[in-house]
Symmetry: C2
Subunit: 239 residues, 2 copies
DNA sequence: TTAATAGTGTCTATAAGACATTATATG
DNA sequence: CATATAATGTCTTATAGACACTATTAA
């Protein structure tokens, strides 16, 4: 391809979208925004993943763009943020050939202060059911959300990923509960504790969680932002 | 964002690149192309991952674009092809803000007929050393190749991925060898065979591989294009 | 003292690792 | 028959699963 050919190709619309997960009321939730009702917009009034066009003047990289959008919507600065993949094609956006770069984030919803933002009618958490969310979504966001859920569930089987759904200090029971919510099945206490404590994942914070019963030791992650990989998946047996 | 805002954003250059792996001479190799020597080009004469601009007239989706480029370079039609991720930013391409959607493919090199293509000086297989390839690469392709190697090695630990490096029929010893090449360490025969045969991955083809010693049963994959996930990683111990 | 949850210990089942043994082809 | 590699079997070890048991707080 010669240098002049660069201009011969029409450039696709380029966006960044983020799938933001949290655990609320013992359920996995995803953050959605409602598109403006303006009939000139695509998918007016429908719910969608938060995101939008890359601003080549402000965003130095795709990840910086995702972090900016996450900060704008939730006020959170340094969560767990990982790229999910990209979706692109001729028909997914009525405005033309488009490609979106998708990230996913996990955060403790207690620390979130939702900001509606300029071109959003509404913003809110929606519970995840079996395969997705109980709402029609704009663009191909249903498919993208499905892929994000699959990635989250699959990584929960063999990594420390669900820990990022919790606040900085948490008990082992709370961590176990986060796994159970994500995996949507019970997890056995004894092997769970052995497993977590056998890898270099958490350290005692020195505090205790008190409540109606025996107080529990509070832990924190030893290194934030990284994943610990377990040598086996949870519950390998299929019965 | 209002409808008219769509045009206010400058659109990044959009490309698709492919990391194509094979096993040759007992080593993992990657396919690279040499950029033209034309001084008007970026990175003239340097080696790079095969790829190029999305053609919004011909390519209906990003994956279709990747398949087309793979077919153009290697003549291969239905290999294992998976998205690796996307890289985008202001400085990775001297021509401007750019984003590339990266796929990776595994194929048996025996079936490949390399095609140099119009704007390529040279094309060839390069052995993978510890972290990458023994050549300076254009753009951020060193980083991308590193991520692809990491993905390949990591998935080889707990999936059937390396099977796609082999031709349709293969012996269990050949499959074991593919794992050893990818993981860059020996794999024990007995647990390897138990493991492979205990999941619904391969079936006997009915043929045998003959040679200097006892003939070996030839197997083929039961379902092509999918990955089987093992409940444990290989060699979980760290010693 | 009771309720409730935290945390530990013991036994069993599964599968990997080590390694020896048997099987079957070629020359 | 010698050689080489395929394929299997046995013993050991590590860890998950099941489940009972103990510990420690509040009310």
């Amino acid at each position: 391809m010669s240098a002049s050919d660069t201009l011969d190709f029409s450039r696709p619309l380029t966006t960044v979208d983020i799938v933001i997960f949290t655990v609320k009321d013992d359920r996995l939730h995803v953050l959605l925004v409602q598109r403006p009702n303006d009939a000139r917009e695509s998918f007016p009034g429908q719910w969608a993943l938060p995101g939008g066009f890359v601003d080549t003047d402000r965003d130095n990289t795709l990840k910086a763009c995702a972090l900016r959008k996450l900060q704008e919507k939730t006020g959170i600065n340094a969560p767990y943020l990982e790229q999910l993949g990209s979706w692109g094609g001729a028909t997914r956006d009525p405005r033309g050939w488009s490609a979106t770069h998708v990230y996913y984030a996990l955060l403790p919803h207690e620390q979130v202060r939702l900001q509606r933002g300029a071109n959003t009618r509404e913003i809110g958490w929606f519970p995840i059911t079996e395969q997705g969310v109980d709402k029609e979504l704009a663009f191909d966001h249903r498919e993208i959300l499905g892929a994000a859920i699959e990635r989250l569930r699959s990584k929960a089987e063999y990594t420390s990923l669900p820990a990022y759904l919790l606040p900085e200090e948490f008990t082992l029971s709370e961590l176990q509960h986060a796994y159970e919510v994500v995996l949507d099945r019970p997890v056995k206490k004894s092997p769970f504790r052995t497993r977590i404590l056998s890898v270099d994942l958490v350290e005692e914070s020195g505090n205790m969680r008190t409540g109606v019963s025996r107080p529990a030791v509070l832990y924190r992650l030893k290194s934030s932002g990284t994943l610990t990989i377990f040598p086996r998946t949870f519950s390998p047996r299929s019965d």
